[in-house]
Symmetry: C2
Subunit: 487 residues, 2 copies
């Protein structure tokens, strides 16, 4: 453990959860938090606290904090806002390090008493050396020590126990939850994810600073509705982007969005234009939704930086190829036309089987769906070997295939892509798109799992793949230029 | 039947399929076409033709066209390009009305012999009063008479037998197939869909003209890579948009896309800017992918035109509400702030249960997920009754809910939406988004089916919903202004 005051946020030795009900007939957030810690395998002691009740989830319920027969590092408060002042006092006498306040009803409400209460609590906590995460938040997901805020059961999709390189800071609990699920479903795992809500004490900038220094975090992403101290944030962000990639989703950039953000987390938002130009200057990558955040994080974890913007776009079907070419071009990538000698090599492979010399062989390249894996592999190798190609985008439109059995076409194609892993030494990005029917979704889902396991970044459309790649390339260009300017 | 020469394209009394193999161990397009007609219940006679073979799919194989003991209105040719001239001659002597050429290898190939062959065939056919669809295409899907080009089996997702108001013209067979599947999965069905490939004879403009006059078609969509005669196309398009909504997806608008379109269907494409301004002048709606095409068609089939751009955005969760507000504003919609008296009414409903006066109640409106259906229904009625609201966007982020059981939250919410159908007389659009986990997808899939059945337009993101609505509103404004100018 370092000497940072935030270390207890991730490495508490024991946790008390205040407001855990043993009445399982009703939803109770405290019990939900407790179940989450149990499900993710938190190693330290967990103490449920409530003035009522005997036992919950196999543990004795303690009537108050002071009755807990152990030191407590970390308290999860699942009681309403108005009881929080007393709780903070109890925590102080118990020597608590971190208080996580789940309840809303503080500075984000219209009544100014909410803001006043929030300030008083933070002041009281700091006086006694305690730090507060929240209020109005879900807290911490840290697979390494088993911290979590979502139970895992057949009825619920919990968070993965697996750790990874992705560090997330999110002001919204819902978006934090969605990002964790979206990323892990697509094969990237988390070093740490923190939902910090109103940011009364620990705020986005503190967390950004922490993750910048955190050796477990290789890529940082942040969902932010508003920042507490703009100039400190920008300063810390500049330092962060020097060390590792930082992806920022600034929400609440329209009038209605700003209004919503204010009611949500008391955030003072700002216009998209201001944020766009500010972020550009810091070398951070700006995104506009959670999916795009994951789209880009996926590239940092799966591929090495492409040398340039020249993409070879390989897929099945004419219409899908036209669309893919437009998508990639519109996103900012270049599709260099394959020279005659390479096109001839491809025709030599395909003509005998396809009996069709009119296929799209110039880039984009339209592959014949009935081709065996070996043949497809040979063709892709020929294309990848061309020195004008910096990266490959391989795509498949699942529901665009009439007449044929999709399964017969899809499985060998996916197998070919999997076989490319150790053969092609240029970045490969996969788009599995045009899924409408259940049949397509099931086949795609099977393919996703195999491709993720093998480390391929997979996208649901060529436009999202192309846009993420283009932002990755711009990011590397910016930092290359920035280093040159500095030297 | 009208006297149009295209009527036989949709209403043939008998079909011969040339090039049907009885060897089921190999893929054979002719057999695929035959299976498709059988599966969709084509009522006329089907005659397989091939120089080899005895019987296929329960029918005798005839060695040549002239051996077929019946009149033939419609021929599907599944033989290679080089045998087509002979086939056209055989069709002429048989009095055939329509020849559908599946094979590629005509004007889209680099070798100029392909274009020459195509011209010769068209000339020969026209001389004898025959019309050609294709070459290089899948032909016609017309559920009413049972025309189809995709077999339906446990391994394949065929096309629906149900008819509907949506008419599709598509130059690409893959995109035609995908659009049919995407639309029917989302609850809109087809009057007719035609994939016309190289457009050697029957082209996009002929088909647009036909669908304009077709009483079964209420909304027209077209996927076009290039047009044969620009000024006639624009003229016919102007006439079409006066009669019914026309959605145009012009692909091949970038250099690489144009190159792909040329190799795909021999289309001479044009830049996005030119097409954008041309289409704007005609009153057509321009889209940029198949999903967007269906997004807009869905609105025409499900809702009445909103009176204006003022949307009330109702959902669950703070982050999701901020995102939805930004999405709707960025798409061009307005979110008027709810006045104090309406906010008070909402608080009166929610405060006792939620114990939380800080929710987002200004528009966007953040609904409490645990609220029973009745309460949610009451709240939505209050919002919809406000005269400043022109339409409702109700959304749900499936994977953004931590702690709680998604099923407990989702099902009552969907039930409430279903109950709104006959209560609210303003347009309602639903977005079911943020689906990452299998659990979310399964729940969403269940909800989609129920909502589609009840006639709600459903979108996978608030941004796609908002963008479609905004285009619908712009469409109605354009046509209102255009009528005023004319009168």
């Amino acid at each position: 453990m370092t000497n940072s005051s935030l270390d207890y946020l991730f490495n508490p030795r024991s946790i008390a959860i205040v407001g855990v009900s043993d009445d399982s007939s009703k939803f109770n957030p405290g019990r939900g938090f407790m179940q989450s810690l149990i499900d993710l395998g938190f190693k330290g002691n967990i103490y449920p606290v409530n003035s009522n009740g005997e036992e919950v989830l196999g543990s004795k319920i303690y009537p108050s904090m002071k009755d807990v027969p152990d030191e407590i590092d970390y308290v999860i408060s699942a009681i309403p806002a108005q009881y929080t002042s007393q709780l903070v006092a109890d925590c102080a006498s118990k020597g608590v390090k971190i208080i996580h306040l789940f309840a809303a009803g503080f500075s984000e409400i219209e009544d100014e008493k909410g803001g006043q209460l929030e300030s008083e609590i933070v002041e009281a906590a700091r006086k006694d050396g305690m730090r507060i995460i929240g209020p109005n938040c879900m807290g911490v997901y840290y697979p390494k020590t088993g911290l979590s805020f979502t139970p895992d059961s057949p009825k619920r999709s919990g968070f993965s126990k697996q750790s990874g390189p992705f560090g997330l800071i999110a002001q919204s609990g819902g978006n934090c939850t969605y990002c964790i699920r979206e990323a892990t479903t697509r094969g990237i795992y988390f070093s740490k994810a923190i939902n910090y809500g109103n940011a009364a004490d620990i705020n986005e900038t503190d967390l950004l600073e922490y993750l910048t220094r955190d050796p477990e975090t290789k890529t940082i992403a942040a969902y932010i509705e508003g920042v507490k101290d703009g100039s400190r944030f920008i300063k810390v962000l500049r330092e962060a982007t020097r060390v590792k990639p930082v992806i920022i989703f600034k929400a609440g950039t329209t009038e209605a969005g700003t209004r919503a953000a204010a009611s949500h987390t008391s955030a003072i938002a700002g216009s998209n234009t201001i944020w766009g130009s500010l972020l550009k200057q810091t070398g951070a990558i700006q995104v506009h939704n959670i999916e795009e955040m994951v789209d880009i994080a996926l590239l940092f974890s799966c591929i090495s930086p492409p040398k340039g913007k020249n993409a070879a776009v390989i897929g099945v079907g004419g219409g899908a190829s036209v669309q893919a070419a437009d998508d990639c071009s519109n996103a900012g990538l270049t599709l260099p036309m394959l020279p005659p000698q390479i096109r001839q090599k491809l025709k030599d492979i395909y003509a005998p089987e396809a009996g069709d010399t009119g296929r799209i062989f110039k880039n984009p390249i339209d592959m014949f769906p009935f081709t065996g894996s070996v043949m497809l592999l040979d063709a892709i190798k020929i294309i990848a070997d061309w020195d004008q190609v910096d990266l490959l985008i391989i795509h498949l439109a699942f529901d665009s295939m009439p007449l044929i059995d999709k399964q017969d076409a899809v499985r060998p194609y996916i197998k070919s892509i999997l076989n490319l892993k150790n053969i092609i030494n240029k970045p490969i990005v996969v788009a599995l798109h045009s899924q409408a029917t259940d049949e397509a979704r099931e086949l795609a889902s099977e393919a996703y799992v195999e491709l993720h396991k093998a480390g391929f970044p997979v996208y649901p459309s060529t436009s999202r793949a192309a846009s993420a790649i283009n932002k990755l390339i711009q990011y590397h260009e910016w930092h290359r230029r920035s280093k040159q300017d500095a030297s």
